[in-house]
Amino acid sequence: MATFNLNVNGKKQAVDVDPETPVLWVLRDHLDLVGTKFGCGMAQCGACTIHIDGTATRSCILPVSSVGDQKITTIEGLSEKGDHPVQKAWLEHDVPQCGYCQAGQIMSAAALLKENPTPTDEQIETAMNGNICRCGTYVRIKAAVKTASKNLNA
């Protein structure tokens, strides 16, 4: 066990855990931030996507000891009022079916648009390819990313 001082959604958080503990479980079990989802535990499905200093990262294989003072952003901290352009676009397109993968999808999309505010269809597909949706909402996700891109650049 060791103490780690994390910067989560702009807030300093100290946790006392095994250094190998993936950030996903630190968030879910220790910080009660359960918006970041467990899907596969091996960075294959993207449900656990968070931002580390703004970059989309799979939290299920990221040991807490590797984070240091980098900024962790989770779905709960993506926007203060739940009104990030990506979140708004998701609602406008009524994207979710079961909804379980959508936090990860949104975090991947938000990171993409930060890097590339006007992605092409191919760039969207490439950036989002690590996020699986068993309900099959891919077509809507792409449309929502485009809407968010449009609104970001308006």
Binding site: W25, D29, V34, K37, G99, Y100, M128, N129, G136
Partner: protein, 749 residues
């Protein structure tokens, strides 16, 4: 208007509210997943309960209970819409709350068979109509006018002649004292204001902001985490446990074994007995328990042939033979070929098919197969349990709370009323969560450890302790005469361990000489319903085959099907045909026109398919392109007849999703076994369709209909597989007979 007898009484409701008590409060804070009402409307000071389905606040806010489990089929929005419609409430003032499990008020609290909307169509509207009638009576009493003169619109009551009006909130208190009417009138379809309009997902805001909604998100003070270790292979059972190292690891509270079903327990259809004894690790955090489980030293041994007795969904009792041994996919393929070569059980026979096959000018014969599939709900199996000597509190994702309540009551030896199952939003269902062994396991673990506990499956647990879609095989034969008329049709279908045959579906009824045979081969691998059970294979096989027969007959594949349907409509063969030929033809005609069928576009390869299941009709046309040697669906054109469409935006989403899901599974997915062990246990090996492989566009068209709504969660899945196979043939010149198609090593020109 349609007058129907109400089955809603205040007595049954009062009983419920007393019983629910603290559970209701809990459901508010944890499970409600309310649609936030219009921000300007504050929560009411007081709620008035008009019946078990709804309560009205003094300020006009209305809480509508959504009775059924939400697995992504959007019933949590569309079912309350039915109540709101008849109540004549303004949707923006509606809060939706997940109802508790209560079979005295709600009927069929189950997610399965695409039946929620069709089975709730009358009861939910009746609940709204009953409350509206009570509000009108209260207003009539207050205004001293006849109730017939009191009208309603958007949460308001009016008396035109006197100019009097009142809001629902103002009349709620008085309405709650009105006797529940014995009969109410339901609206004519033409008067619908909410049904047929698009309403966004009531949980949307919570989903996109990561609020706790799902079973895995649930937590309670003092809660421990549990994981199970199950045999590494089907056909094995526990031999010995060495937990000395695991026990001493940080955060670990206990390690023990559980037997899920007691000796004398009578299995239900939704119980799963493939791994009857499990090793349990309980500790403080998920990561600690995961690590301790890895440190278990477990020995397993093979079990021998045995027989299980189980009740079916319909209540009858069946004996199931469970063979011993460790099974392999190569052996499964051999078994299926052997069974297919033998005669099966004749399920339906029209005319004299064998004689006609002998004299046919042309015979087309093809075999199709598909592997086991794992459900892979994105949220792995999990359940919370807090079991004491007096009662059991169970919270989590389950499609069959009514049935599992019975299982867990019998296993814990507690009366039914001491079992409190609360439904969370579910990260996918697809049939997997019909089978609630994980709920029972959680209950037994909590009972043993005497603490609240959340059982968590990893993806590997989930995929290797599955209740899989069976492996299937179908042999088809078609006989054509010298004029290329289809004169005989033969299907022989079976599976491990269930058959996918629907003997009375199309083309039964359209061919004079018809033979349908079925077979099954036993297995110790647990199987169950998977989105559109059996249809999810047989539709693709049949629709691929019909495409090939149409080609052999030199006919356009849509016209070929329409000609057969014309026969089934006007001069049907036999009396037991499950489908309506006219509606099946209707979706084919609609997709033909919407897709501009017949229009040739360079590099676009098209396939068509149509199928009937879950009382609905769906036809697909797929436009496929080959890009850098890989097939990619450019566009899916889809025509659907599911009767009245309650919520178009969600219905469209469901059809899009079902189409993507069907394409994905046919193209990429499959679970194989080596010595009883699944070869794929996570997404590195088990392929699900991803963004880059998804169709670029999907056009959904609904047949305008006045028919009561039918299923939608499942029907779009099966037919798209046939359209995909047929489009792949056009693109590659090669027919595809084995799923997943990608595994066949598609060669592209």
């Amino acid at each position: 208007m349609t007058a129907i007898k109400t089955s809603i009484g205040r007595r049954s409701f009062l009983k419920t509210s007393a019983l629910a008590g603290g559970g209701m409060m809990l459901s508010f804070s944890w499970l409600a997943g309310c649609k936030p009402p219009d921000e300007t409307v504050a929560l009411p000071k007081e709620w008035f309960e008009l019946n078990g389905y709804l309560k009205i606040g003094d300020n006009g806010l209305v809480t509508i209970m959504s009775p059924n489990p939400e697995i992504g089929q959007n019933v949590k929005t569309s079912m309350p819409m039915l109540v709101a419609e008849e109540l004549d409430v303004d949707w923006k003032n509606v809060i939706v709350e997940q109802a508790p499990l209560n079979t005295t008020i709600f009927t069929r609290q189950l997610a399965g068979g695409s039946q929620s909307i069709s089975q709730g169509w009358k009861s939910l509207r009746m609940a709204g109509a009953t409350a509206k009638r009570m509000l009108r009576e209260a207003a009539a009493k207050a205004w001293q006018v006849s109730v017939d003169e009191v009208t309603t619109e958007a949460s308001m009551l009016y008396h035109k002649a006197s100019g009097k009006s009142a809001s629902y909130g103002e009349m709620a208190s008085a309405a709650a004292k009105i006797e529940v009417p014995k009969e109410v009138e339901l609206k004519n379809n033409s008067d619908f204001k909410i049904i047929g309009t698009s309403r966004n997902n009531v949980d949307g805001q919570k989903i996109v902001t990561g609020q706790p909604l799902f079973g895995l998100d649930y937590r309670k003070e003092g809660m421990l985490i549990a994981m199970i270790a199950h045999p590494p292979a089907f056909g094995m059972k526990l031999k010995s446990v060495d937990d000395s190292q695991a026990r001493s690891m940080p955060g670990i509270k206990d390690v023990f074994t559980i037997k899920t079903y007691p000796e004398e327990y009578a299995l239900q259809w939704c119980d799963v007995d493939s791994f009857p004894e499990l090793v349990v690790v309980v500790g403080n955090t998920t990561w600690q328990v995961m690590n301790a489980r890895k440190a278990l030293k477990l020995e397993w041994e093979q079990f021998s042939d045995h027989e299980l007795t189980s009740s079916t969904f319909w209540g009858s009792t069946v004996k199931i033979k469970v063979p011993g041994g460790l099974e392999n996919s190569a052996q499964h393929a051999k078994v299926m070929a052997e069974f297919s070569a033998k005669g099966g059980n004749v399920v339906r026979k029209d005319g004299n098919p064998e004689a006609v096959f002998k004299k046919a000018a042309k015979v087309v014969e093809r075999s199709y197969s598909a592997p086991f599939l794992a459900h892979n709900t994105m949220e792995p199996m999990n359940f919370f349990a807090n079991v004491t000597d007096e009662m059991a509190e169970l919270v989590g994702p389950i499609q069959t709370p009514e049935f599992m309540e019975k299982s867990v009551a019998a296993i814990l030896n507690l009366p039914l009323e001491k079992i409190d199952i609360q439904m969370t939003r579910q990260g996918g269902g697809f049939g997997r969560r019909l089978y609630g062994h994980f709920l029972v396991e959680a209950a037994l673990i909590s009972k043993k450890i005497k603490a609240p506990v959340k059982l968590v499956y990893t993806r590997e647990d989930d995929m290797s302790f599955g209740v899989y879609r069976p492996a299937y095989h179908a042999l088809y034969r078609a006989a054509l005469d010298e004029n290329n008329n289809l004169i005989a049709f033969h299907v022989k279908a079976g599976g491990i361990p269930e058959s996918p045959l629907f003997a009375n579906r199309f083309p039964a009824g359209a061919v004079d000489n018809y033979l349908a045979e079925s077979w099954t081969a036993s297995s110790n691998i647990s199987v169950g319903a998977f989105r559109a059970p059996a249809s999810n294979f047989i539709a693709g096989a049949e629709q691929s085959f019909l495409d090939e027969v149409a080609e052999a007959a030199g006919k356009d594949p849509i016209q070929f099907r329409l000609d057969l349907l014309d026969r089934a409509l006007n001069k049907p063969v036999g009396e037991k045909n499950d489908y309506e030929a006219k509606r099946l033809a209707g979706v084919l005609e609609l997709v033909r026109s919407k897709s501009n069928w017949g229009l040739e576009t360079p590099n676009i390869h098209r396939g068509v398919s149509a199928y009937f299941c879950h009382d609905s009709y769906v036809a697909h046309v797929i436009d496929l392109k080959v890009e850098s040697g890989k097939p990619r669906v450019e566009k899916v054109h889809c025509a659907v007849d599911c009767g009245i469409v309650v919520n178009p935006i969600a219905a469209t989403n469901l059809v899009e999703g079902g189409s993507v899901d069907g394409i994905g599974h046919a193209m990429y997915s499959g679970l194989t076994f080596t010595n009883g062990t699944p070869d794929q246990t996570n997404f590195n090996k088990y392929r699900l369709i991803r963004h880059k492989e998804a169709p670029k566009a999907i056009d959904v068209h609904f047949v305008e209909s006045d028919v009561d709504p039918t299923g939608l969660g499942e029907p779009p899945f099966p037919p798209v597989i046939g359209a995909l196979a047929n489009a792949l043939y056009k693109a590659t010149g090669k027919r595809h007979y084995q799923q997943p198609y990608l595994g066949e090593g598609i060669t592209l020109g």
